[in-house]
């Protein structure tokens, strides 16, 4: 019972405190670590709640008959350690948390992944039909259209698409920046990080933690791709490419909601913050893993301590 309560408390704490990570300045210095931390926070919150359900359901008489009284005593001691409630509301809650939540997550995962796969396949097909291979190699295709746009479509056969309208108005260096940025998205499989945050948001749309995590993940993969692109192009050219494309699209955007993401990217490129020190980076990674490990440990601890007790010394 204590384990169940502790797990629920951890889940609640992660949901309440987690969103505060959004304001942390270090997330811009180490976007990769920040994405990892968001994933750890969200996955741990869900895992804690599901495991709380599991611990509510540990049966008193799991193993009995043939293996004899020793095993039975062991099972009883484990079950006692959890002190799973016999009363109905506890059982019911356990069933919902341990049964319904995982199934619902699987349903949402299937929807997001299959829906995304279908949409990408349709897009790849349409692109194969109407887009021209670009002059350069590297998977660039050109859409003969005046509207300015540059984007990539991941998949087994990925596409980096630039419209003629954008191509005509980007300088050579700017185009290099665009291509390097999009190639970084594809090589880093950034869409998977987005898909994970999307699945959790789809499953629990009313929990702010998942909404914040989804928005942050989207912004952070852009920073990550910018950092990777800097290996191929200088900071000013990449910043200039972002502003150039934004300029081309500005009239249409008058109606759209202003987004801080692109402005942050430009500012960050022009006035780079010092990278995070190696030891802080490592410490952060360990902390992220600890966040995921905590619910697992809490859920497993009573079983472990019972198993190590005398009754289980077979």
């Amino acid at each position: 019972m204590i384990a169940s309560l502790a797990l629920l408390a951890i889940g609640l704490a992660l949901v309440v405190v987690g969103p505060r990570l959004a304001g942390a300045r270090w997330t811009r210095q180490a976007p990769w670590l920040a994405i990892l931390t968001w994933q750890a926070l969200t996955v741990a919150a869900v895992a804690a709640v599901v495991l709380a359900g599991v611990t509510l359901l540990i049966p008193i008489t799991a193993v009995a008959d043939d293996l004899g009284a020793i095993l039975h005593a062991c099972a009883v001691s484990i079950a006692t350690a959890y002190a799973a409630p016999e009363f109905l509301p506890g059982r019911l809650l356990g069933t919902v948390l341990a049964g319904v939540v995982p199934v619902w997550l699987l349903v949402c995962a299937a929807r997001v992944l299959i829906g995304g796969w279908r949409a990408r396949r349709a897009l790849h097909r349409s692109l194969d039909l109407v887009a021209e291979p670009g002059a350069d190699s590297g998977g660039l295709v050109v859409l003969e259209a005046a509207a300015p746009a540059a984007f990539c479509v991941p998949g087994r056969t990925s596409h980096i698409v630039v419209s003629r309208g954008a191509l005509n108005r980007l300088s050579r260096r700017e185009l290099d920046g665009v291509l390097a940025h999009e190639a970084a998205h594809l090589n880093g499989r950034h869409n998977l990080a987005v898909a994970l945050s999307e699945i959790l948001l789809r499953a629990f749309p009313r929990v702010p933690l998942f909404a914040v995590a989804a928005v942050q993940t989207r912004e952070l993969i852009e920073l990550l791709a910018d950092d990777a692109a800097l290996e191929a192009v200088d900071r000013v050219s990449l910043a200039s490419a972002i502003v150039s494309l934004a300029e081309m699209r500005a009239p249409a955007a008058a109606l759209a909601m202003a987004q801080g993401g692109a402005a942050l990217r430009v500012t960050r490129l022009l006035a780079p913050e010092p990278p995070m020190t190696a030891w802080r980076h490592r410490l952060g990674a360990v902390a992220a893993l600890a966040i995921v490990a905590a619910p697992l440990f809490l859920a497993g601890y009573p079983a472990l301590s019972a198993a190590l007790s005398d009754l289980c010394n077979i």
Binding site: L129, A145, I221, V236, A239, I242, E247
Partner: protein, 128 residues
């Protein structure tokens, strides 16, 4: 905008590359070089494309002559418009290089970039 099926796409491609109206038999002859297709299959698909408003047709002698309603470039423009209209919501499907910004901040950022460029030019070696 619904994407074309595989055979639909092959037929549209063939008609676009011809640049002139063609009968089912013409299209079948061209497509048959790479695969085996029944006349009725191609006829059905082209008839469907006509019903969906993708192909125009007129009677010539005893056969229909088909031609695309929209050029390939018009189709590319429609596809892009589609992508831009859905922008933002489906990042696991496609990732845009830049999201929309309002004009005021764009102007501000442009001047910041130009300032950085001048600074970079005046201090060579520090451009990276």
């Amino acid at each position: 905008m619904r994407p074309f099926g595989e055979l639909e796409a092959a037929i549209m491609k063939e008609l676009w590359s011809r640049g002139e109206p063609a009968t089912v038999r013409d299209v079948l002859a061209s497509l048959s070089t790479s695969r085996t297709l029944a006349y009725t299959t191609v006829m059905t698909v082209m008839d469907n494309l006509h019903r969906k408003g993708q192909l125009d047709r007129e009677m010539s002698g005893r056969a229909w002559l088909y031609r695309p309603v929209r050029s390939r470039a018009e189709h590319a423009a429609a596809l892009l418009q589609n992508v831009l209209d859905e922008a933002g919501d489906r990042q696991e499907v496609l990732m845009h290089f830049v999201a929309d910004l309002d004009s005021a901040s764009v102007a501000q950022l442009r001047s910041a970039v130009e300032a950085a460029r001048r600074q970079g030019d005046s201090a060579p070696g520090d451009a990276g």
